[in-house]
Symmetry: C2
Subunit: 111 residues, 2 copies
DNA sequence: ATTGTATTTTACCAAGTACTTAATTAACCG
DNA sequence: CGGTTAATTAAGTACTTGGTAAAATACAAT
């Protein structure tokens, strides 16, 4: 019943707030309040977003006095990169099709 | 209120069934019943998954007699690839850190 | 016209999401 | 200690998701 790693990652990335938080963390570790500032949202809401990102392994949280600095963890992003890489041939084939090359026909019904 | 393109794409990919359907379509266009076979799920359920994938632009559907052949559309996957590419430096930096190089310290609090 | 096959739509339900406000924990500082 | 700041937990609400069964639609074949 626990969602697999890929699902957790994609699910976390499906939220614009989550992606914005990651983008912010790309420029360095920071606190929760700092992360919350750009958003018109209460702290608990941000806290929940962070929990989702953490469960997906996309961030980690430290402890420094009363602050919980968040850090970007890129492992799952590499997995996403690897996953999507498999489909590269399809968009590259599309690029070739646009520039005028022949395209294969798929005979899906004559099994 | 309509979710942006990236969110729709990631959201569709967050579902293992959706990803499995895409994987199947990578080996060629096929009908809905054919797509449904590997899953322990009713047709309407598959139909809904296809609608999600279609709204995300990840598949397109044709019309051939009573069949609605589905085809993989890789455009949004290229967008995912482009998006994740920005974070490449983080997992590569991680690889370097593991192989014993020095790592920069982030001073997040001394704003 | 009737029957069969492929697919979608509708209506419904249980579980999950995405917020809110209010209360709580934890640590610092006078 | 008591007050402030940082962050989480709890409880509640509105909305969305992911599935079902049953009916409807669309076309093909007889």
């Amino acid at each position: 019943m626990p969602p697999d790693q890929s699902s957790a990652t994609f699910s976390a990335l499906a939220d614009p707030t989550g992606r914005a938080i990651l983008a912010r963390l790309a420029s360095g570790e920071t606190s929760v309040t700092e992360l919350a500032k750009p958003f018109d949202m209460t702290m608990p809401a941000i806290s929940k977003h962070l929990k989702v990102l953490e469960r997906a392994g996309l961030i980690s949280r430290g402890r420094e006095a009363q602050w919980r600095p968040c850090r970007l963890e890129a492992g799952p992003l590499k997995d996403v990169s690897d996953w999507v890489e498999y489909y590269r041939r399809f968009w590259e084939q599309l690029a070739r099709r646009i520039s005028g090359e022949s395209c294969g026909v798929t005979t899906w019904r004559n099994q």
